[in-house]
Symmetry: C2
Subunit: 449 residues, 2 copies
């Protein structure tokens, strides 16, 4: 068989980085195996919409296998990699079998980090997978259901206090969606409570929301959140989370110096504060001696390979990568999907360079800007153009955000479904996926912990 002699390229992870690597190798004379522990590629920028009942899961997830149906040089496998034997050029899978490779691209992504407080996971789920999204949807919708049943006014308010920890793009989007659900979607549907009484708190340790954005846009986003009725607490550090709510250390009231500790009683808390790289980062560090940073990301060479292991590349959220431009200081690459895609593209090109015995290229990140949505008609956009930055907010920004996200959604059908769902939601403030498979007593999902 001719194919048996072709170089074997193994890609771990079917996110933005892994997918781009695989696509870029579509016509190359290599045999690719793409391994992922789920059966789908997830369009993570819209995952918060699944969590907040705006979209059904299949609208933002496509079967990986189906995406590569026509790419004959690629085999998709549903499997979990537990160990990378860098010297032996093989990986071990959780079912005990192994896969050999000539070139490896590790694109295993990231998960949430509780900064050493893993027990918080039970009380404050994060948002990385579809399972996470279903769990948050369940907690959010069942909080209102439980409030409707609760005769004690104080306990009722605990159900109606919704907390989001972390004001990055995901936290801001979730807090905005929570506010719209309470203020618009659910209005008129309850007989004993008024969903409008729900408090939505967005708790951020830093001095502003959306810290990756310019200060002017952070300020815009803050006022848009406040217009939606979100209480934003800045410089507020969460010090404990349990089934009753949070403990927070935040600024003292105006006129008083220092900080104060206080508690927030809440039955629905969502974690959007920290990310940690996949455990495969630590595994690579153990097996290759490479460095990992505080978030567990692999410090890669300029060409995205693991130092001393040119046949192993690390990309996407698992890589602590730098952008290299001639005559300029290297700059850190942010953990966003365009970064992962661009790294995937370069990793594929460099694999082919190595096979051809040529020199590899250093990674250069093209930054097209940054955008985040807050709610109906509210968003902030910070574009990098050749003529300088272009910044705008409010309605135009929202439409820009919407079209950009729908454009980048993978697969024709998904785009259409998302557009249609949103067209109707836009007109009516309704949310079309307010469905929880489990019951109050028998949650549908196994917990994260």
């Amino acid at each position: 068989m001719q194919t048996a002699q072709r170089p074997r390229v193994l890609i771990i992870g079917g996110g933005f980085g892994g997918l781009e690597t695989a696509k870029a190798l579509a016509k190359a004379p290599v045999d690719i195996t793409l391994v992922d522990k789920t059966n789908h590629h997830l369009f993570q920028p819209l995952l918060y919409q699944v969590a907040t009942a705006g979209l059904a899961a299949p609208a933002i997830a496509a079967p990986t296998r189906s995406l590569f149906r026509h790419q004959a040089n690629l085999t998709t496998l549903l499997a979990e990699v537990t160990n990378i034997d860098a010297a032996g050029k093989q990986v071990h899978l959780s079912d005990g079998s192994t896969l050999v490779f000539d070139h490896l691209v590790v694109a295993a992504g990231a998960t949430h980090s509780y900064f050493g407080h893993d027990d918080w996971a039970t009380h404050a789920p994060g948002l990385k997978t579809l399972e996470d999204a279903f769990e948050i949807r369940r907690r959010l919708l069942f909080a209102f259901e439980s409030a409707e049943k609760e005769p004690d006014p104080e306990k009722r308010q605990d159900w109606l206090t919704l907390c989001v920890i972390g004001a990055g793009p995901t936290g801001v989007e979730m807090a905005g969606a929570f506010a719209e659900i309470a203020r618009q979607t659910l209005v008129g549907e309850f007989r004993r409570i008024n969903p409008h009484d729900a408090r939505i708190l967005l708790i951020e340790g830093g001095p502003r929301v959306l810290q990756a954005m310019p200060e002017t846009l952070s300020a815009k986003a803050l006022s848009q959140l406040q217009n939606l009725g979100v209480e934003v607490r800045l410089n507020a550090i969460v010090t404990a989370i349990d089934a009753q709510g949070l403990k927070v250390r935040g600024p003292a009231p105006a006129g008083v110096l220092g900080s104060v500790d206080y508690t927030i009683a809440s039955k629905c808390v969502v974690w959007a504060a920290g990310v940690a790289a996949s455990p495969l980062g630590a595994n690579l560090a153990k097996n290759t001696g490479c460095q990992i940073d505080r978030a567990g990301r692999v410090v890669v060479s300029p060409d995205l390979s693991v130092p001393g292991y040119p046949h192993i590349n690390v990309i996407g959220d698992l890589a602590a990568a730098f952008s290299h431009r001639p005559g300029k200081q290297p700059t850190a690459v942010p953990g966003v999907s365009p970064g992962a895609k661009q790294m995937g593209h370069l990793a594929a090109a460099n694999v082919l360079k190595r096979i051809a015995g040529k020199a590899t290229h250093a990674f250069r990140y093209a930054d097209y800007g940054n955008l985040a949505t807050i709610g109906h008609n509210s968003a902030v956009v910070d574009l990098s153009t050749p003529l300088g930055p272009l910044r705008f907010s409010n309605r135009l920004a929202w439409w820009f955000w919407l079209l950009a996200h729908v454009y980048f959604l993978i697969g024709f059908r998904n785009r259409l479904v998302v557009l249609m769902d949103w067209a109707m939601a836009y007109a009516s403030f309704s949310r079309n996926a307010r469905v929880v498979a489990g019951t109050l007593e028998k949650p549908e999902h196994v917990g994260e912990s």
Copy 2:
């Protein structure tokens, strides 16, 4: 408060029966509480489409609360009823609280029955809830994924042997969908297996498929199934199910008298063979002394009330009800959604009769016929018309089935999404919901058992 003096009507269950009761009382001077243990009304006739990855869950499920947003005399509660105190006119909920009523309509439906073999549930999930559908979807899709990874040809074939037990409408629809997935949807997506090699077996204890249908249509359905590549085993009794597959007692080969025992190695088995009424049937029997039949259904009075308890009505799949026509023998009402809806309508009317001190009406079932689909362009329809039965099959029947189901789907948005999903699936044989939230190692759902 004036409303406090109005009669309190409690409805248990938000299926077809409960929903119809509630809607029929929309303008009545009563206070209605509708209790359901899930947050959604489920359009069960299309649940097999969620299980076979054709539709996303929200396309066939609508939040119950949302459906009654504008019905001011109705309060929706997410809760599970554990006991009906018939004499005390109250029900107990699983959270320890109680709800009082003046009139009760019990529409708690049915679940699957394993005929005393509850241990089979782990190996052969049934299809009644969204959780069930997700579990079947997971097993079905992961069977092909596991086959792709399996090097041993014999074990690979065990993954590719898909069994459906019971050839009623649900079993026939599922077997047909399984066959289309193997023969059409997945073609070209695997590199090591050929999905076409999958065997789909439909195992039925009786002498024909779709026994509620006329024999001619059963024969049509059988040949449509066989055209799709489904192996149908009639008069075949399942005697055991475990993780390796089934034991079956079926007819001996042609020319040999008697029956033979054989095993079918299979890693994906679905149960569509038996239904049992909700445990609230047995609870009512204990508390009121009423009769229940073998399936646990309450034997109701002609007006659908519990004998001796005129303020308690039982409808839908939980009722062993008869249709009463002047001058004719009472006939049993089949467990289908039109029956449940018609009972709901009468129960509402009879509640108002009782409040007004008038005589109640006996139930009369209007039978409009029966339909089932087998696959792409294949269905059988048996309509009751004033001019006599109208029976047809194949392509026209399929379109009739499709339009009837979409028409009866609740809510504008759902209809449109379903139509659109099907339009695309029809053209391409693709399935748009091939997404499983869990991984192989960490299933997303808690098992049924």
